[in-house]
């Protein structure tokens, strides 16, 4: 039998590389987050000098070294994990959170804790139940309260900064370099003779903290516009905090500072747009995210007002991280075709 000429078979490989992509890439998201931190960073430099830049650089260097080491120990290739830039974001968040003049070993230890105990021990990016930067921050705050709570009162020059950071551990620090934050002041009852930083007014203009918060707010809104973070989380944090602050402020405005003070003090905006929005350690369902975020807002207020720490963000976030799996479980959305 003579066969018709057959076309030559062409073989292809099974690959999924031709799929449609309509979203972002992890690396791009991380880059954007870093970029969005810039306004806040600039405000921070303006407020307290270049110390924060040194802290961030130290943090990034320790993070990259720590992550490479951990990946080597875990026999994982280093490049993909370093390339996703998540370690860098963790490091920068921590660098922004420690006081600009804290000694070098504080930020180095903190970052290593964050990367190793906050992230890599659980299996790296995506597996960590807690926000790594906040793990690092909490360890530092509990272990080195002295170094972690003193912020420069006014901008400090580069030379002095470097001396403070890299100088002898017991070198003399001028008292003018350190002061209590307005949040510390606000906790002290007015009867004791201090005045609260904000007697009303939208923005407590007396302190440049509010400029830093405005900077973070700006960056955060840009991330929201690009749909890189979940607005539910940011709104939830701010709503939870505002609700508490407003309630107590209305009850007794002489004892409790205004909501505006809370919104623009400490790390409020950093928490709302950059820390609570870390998706890995947050709840994942829409309703769960509302609850998770509002919980953070409420806890920030509680810790600030009655707790013993200058700011409540780290503990608020870590406590709510704990609830995320449970929240996810009980707030599953109704799937198509299932009873309402």
């Amino acid at each position: 039998m003579t066969h018709n000429p057959l076309p030559v078979e062409r073989r292809f490989t099974h690959d999924l590389s031709s799929r449609v992509t309509a979203g972002h890439q992890v690396r791009d998201v991380m880059w954007a987050v870093i970029a969005a931190l810039v306004p806040g960073l600039l405000a921070l430099i303006w407020q307290s000098g270049p110390g924060v830049l040194v802290q961030c650089s130290l943090a990034v260097a320790s993070a990259l070294i720590g992550e490479s080491m951990a990946l080597k120990l875990r026999s994982r290739p280093a490049r993909p994990s370093l390339n996703d830039l998540s370690a860098m974001v963790t490091a920068i968040l921590l660098g922004l959170s420690v006081p600009g003049l804290a000694p070098w070993w504080v930020i180095t230890l903190g970052t290593l804790f964050a990367i190793l105990l906050g992230k890599q021990v659980y299996g790296g990016l995506g597996c960590n139940p807690f926000n790594p930067a906040m793990v690092g921050y909490a360890i530092l705050l509990v272990s080195f309260p002295q170094e972690m709570t003193h912020w420069p009162a006014e901008p400090v020059g580069l030379g002095e900064t470097l001396h403070a950071i890299f100088g002898e551990m017991d070198s003399h620090r001028p008292d003018a370099l350190a002061m209590a934050t307005p949040l510390d002041a606000s906790r002290t009852p007015p009867a004791m003779g201090h005045s609260t930083a904000t007697p009303g007014g939208l923005v407590p203009a007396s302190h440049s903290d509010s400029w830093v918060n405005l900077g973070y707010l700006l960056g955060g809104l840009w991330l929201l516009r690009r749909k890189l973070i979940d607005g539910r989380i940011s709104a939830g944090v701010l709503a939870g905090l505002t609700a508490c602050a407003l309630g107590f402020y209305l009850e007794d405005s002489s004892r409790y500072p205004s909501p505006a003070f809370h919104l623009f003090s400490g790390a409020t905006m950093l928490a709302a747009f950059f820390i609570a929005t870390d998706p890995v350690s947050a709840a994942t369902t829409p309703r769960g995210r509302w609850i998770y975020a509002a919980g953070i807002g409420v806890l920030i207020y509680v810790i600030r007002t009655w707790g013993g720490y200058p700011d409540g963000v780290a503990f608020a976030v870590l406590l709510m991280n704990l609830t995320a799996p449970t929240l996810d479980h009980f707030t599953r959305p109704r799937a198509y075709g299932h009873p309402r």
Partner: protein, 515 residues
């Protein structure tokens, strides 16, 4: 666009890429040298081949039959000689092969006599169902479900018939061209179905950007007497053409989980299927060809071809001018729900609506999967309101039961989650495999239960037999002791005496021997 009764959550606005293939009219692809007909049916078993090697077949000959399956018989799509019945790759998401009847065409394309035409205005629903089975009609939208079975399934009354012309997946344009060129057939089929189903409402849905198709339908509607059919534009938002999403859009109702649309009184049919139904009824035509979109950057001249079933993909590519230099990947279906195949020798079967040859580097090659950062973009995009990241967590950890708790089986595999995942995790691939695993677990459980039932039935039967035997023995005994026939009584008496004598002689012998 009028406001629709419902909307679906999630979904994506995707670039259509339709104009690649929908510019020129549907063209007959021609007869390939060989036709291949996979025998594998939906239930995984093979249809029985009714021809043997060397047999001559004609267009329309039944060459394999469904053995107790819902699947209709398989017809030859041209004339020629059966040259082999052997394993060959087929279009299947799992990349499996099937026993195939391979026919070498003779180029004469001789047909057997067509089926008698039905009277489409008066034929009974039963005669239509028989005809659909006989003519080999299955869903042409991609699922390939036997149409007669689908129409028969509805135990509840059907009140709404939906014709799905919302071709939401990028690149695919075969329904678009069909509606532009053969709108009348679709409307005729719709009228026929509406009458046989006895439903009140008939809707035809096309996507908002299928303007020419919509115009063609409108023109055919006013030319014929089809005012009872509503032609509706739905948003060009993927997956508006997904069966469940389309029902949600058009009726505001949801199909209950695990049920068919018929459970809420809706039947959804692809427009190409409806046209085939009409041709089978009105002209006695067997479904032996379909329209296939051949498209993508890897094809010289993308277009829609009228293709005889069984034609190898490679032949279609040849008809489109061959591959371009950058041809890279071969996908059956569209980029969202389609699946890659590893050879262009596999044949077109009824559910194959498009062949997409992707070009290298376009779209940018996707990097390897990275860890899930639980960003939730997948959940936002999911039109079934599932939590793909949780599903992935559980399927990846082989926790099948947990995945089922998270409604794994409600995943429609639309691929929206894949498309938005910033870590490029092949989620749907993972879910398909998990579903498969769940299915085989279920089968194993079923067959274990079946085996146990059989074993228990056998035990019970054996015990019963044993009891019956004992009973019979007892009855025999009783009957012997009672009123047996005199002859037997005599025989028994003789035997007894004989035994007694023997015993006596034996006893005397022993005494004699005693010293």
């Amino acid at each position: 666009m009028t406001t629709l009764p419902g909307r679906f959550p999630g979904g994506l606005e995707l670039e259509g890429h339709k104009s690649l293939a929908n510019q020129c009219p549907i063209r007959f692809a021609g007869l390939p040298p060989r036709l291949l007909f996979p025998l594998r049916q939906r239930n995984g078993e093979n249809a029985r081949a009714l021809v043997s090697i060397g047999d001559l077949v004609r267009r329309g000959s039944v060459i394999a039959g469904g053995n107790q399956s819902l699947d209709p018989p398989i017809h030859a799509s041209s004339s020629g000689r059966v040259i082999a019945i052997e394993d060959h790759g087929m279009a299947h998401p799992a990349g499996i092969s099937s026993r195939c009847i391979i026919i070498e065409t003779d180029g004469l394309d001789e047909s057997i006599a067509a089926l008698p035409a039905l009277d489409t205005t008066h034929c009974s629903p039963e005669s239509l169902l028989d005809r659909l089975h006989e003519a080999g009609i299955v869903g042409l939208g991609g699922a390939g479900f036997p149409t007669a079975a689908k129409l028969l399934k509805g135990k509840t009354a059907i009140d709404t018939l939906i014709l799905n012309g919302a071709e939401c997946e990028p690149y695919i344009a075969c329904d678009d061209r069909l509606l532009r060129e053969r709108a009348n057939e679709v409307l005729q089929g719709a009228a026929l179905l509406q009458r046989c189903l006895g439903c009140r409402t008939t809707l035809i849905a096309v996507e908002g950007d299928m303007r020419l198709a919509w115009q063609a339908l409108k023109a055919a509607q006013s030319a014929g007497d089809f005012d009872f059919i509503q032609i509706i534009q739905v948003p060009s938002r993927y997956p508006a053409g997904g069966e469940r999403q389309l029902i949600q859009l058009l009726t505001g109702r949801e199909v209950p989980s695990g049920a068919l649309p018929a459970a809420i009184g809706v039947i959804c049919q692809n427009v190409a299927t409806v046209a085939a139904i009409y041709r089978a009824a009105a002209h006695g035509e067997i479904l032996d060809s379909r329209i296939v979109t051949v498209t993508g950057a890897g094809v010289q001249t993308p277009q829609n071809l009228e293709v005889r079933l069984g034609t190898p993909i490679g032949f279609l590519i040849e008809q489109c001018g061959g591959y371009t230099g950058q041809a890279h990947g071969l996908i059956v279906g569209g980029p969202m729900m389609g699946y890659t195949v590893n050879s262009d020798a596999i044949p077109v079967t009824k559910p194959v609506n498009a062949i997409l040859v992707t070009g290298a580097g376009s779209p940018a090659t996707i990097p390897d999967p990275q860890p899930c950062i639980r960003c939730g973009a997948c959940a936002e995009a999911c039109p079934a309101s599932l939590l793909p990241q949780q599903l992935y967590w559980h399927t990846h950890a082989q926790q099948l039961q947990r995945a089922l708790d998270y409604h794994l089986l409600d995943c429609i595999e639309c691929g929206c989650c894949d498309a938005v995942c910033p870590s490029h995790i092949p989620l749907v691939h993972e879910f398909r495999q998990a579903k498969q695993a769940s299915l085989s677990q279920q089968r194993a459980r079923d067959s274990a239960a079946h085996a146990r039932m059989r074993f228990e039935a056998r035990q019970a039967r054996k015990e019963q037999e044993q009891r019956d035997r004992e009973l019979a023995a007892q009855r025999r005994k009783a009957s012997l002791g009672g009123h047996a026939s005199p002859k037997i009584q005599e025989a028994l008496e003789r035997a007894r005496q004989k035994r007694a004598k023997q015993n006596e002689s034996l006893a005397s012998e022993t005494t004699h021997n005693d010293p």
